[in-house]
Amino acid sequence: MTAHPPPGTDGAPAGPASPAPTATGPGRLLVALYGLFALAATSRAGVQLGTRLHEAPLAYLLSAFSGVVYVVATVALARRGSGARRVAWAAVSVELAGVLVVGTLSVLLPGDFPRATVWSGYGVGYGCVPLLLPFAGLWWLRRTGRY
């Protein structure tokens, strides 16, 4: 959001030693999707925690956790620098583990397990985008980090 490369340098390496920025070119689309899910998951969790925490505390705390993960991933992917890149790797990895674990548990234990999180049923309520997003994120981090 600060200095952007001039048009035409779409995703180009900044130099032989430094990785390419993650928030340019296709990364722009990735950050937009992460931002959307950060907003969806945190507002969903906000309503759940604010109005019916007693109904299913685990489900709603998981909801809040997924929201935090998306917010951290969005900010880290939108920023430049090796610190932000490390945070992005961690956040997207946690996100992948989260959607796989919560998705699997919600399918195996539909009665016990919360249905009301972004990750339930591998994110089927959101067009399975929550399942695809971490793979896209890891691929993009790997690709931009290669330089």
């Binding site: 952007h4 048009p7 340019t24 722009r28 950050v31 937009a32 931002g35 507002s43 309503v47």
Partner: protein
């Protein structure tokens, strides 16, 4: 909420998504066409939020008024944010970024309609 208004907003959102994706697929940088399509959709969205807000103030029962009001505000903010984000780095991907915003407006409008009718 009037069905004609809901369909107009949802239709504008989907048309905007199609326009943005087409620009990206054609490798065209975001231009005035995208700007105009975004402006029209945003205008329709604002009319919808204002109309729904007025109808709500007139007394309409809802499961969760807070969620509904959150949607009314959120849906009005989505496109400006998407456009600013897309415009700050104008590449062939800018259209796809705005397309995400258009799709979000259409989905949120469908959710608003469901909440209004007491189906969610």
């Amino acid at each position: 909420m009037h069905p004609a208004l809901l369909w107009t907003v949802a239709g504008c959102g989907l048309a905007l998504a199609a326009t943005g994706l087409t620009l990206s697929l054609l490798a065209r940088t975001a231009d005035r066409l995208l700007l105009a399509a975004t402006g029209v959709t945003e205008a329709a969205t604002l009319v919808q939020s204002a109309a729904a807000g007025i109808a709500l103030a007139g007394g309409h029962p809802l499961h969760s008024t807070a969620t509904f009001v959150g949607y009314l505000i959120g849906i009005a903010v989505v496109l400006p944010v998407a456009l600013v984000w897309a415009w700050a780095d104008r590449t062939r991907w800018s259209g796809a970024v705005v397309a995400v915003g258009g799709l979000t407006v259409a989905v949120m409008t469908a959710r608003l309609a469901m909440m209004w009718d007491g189906r969610a």
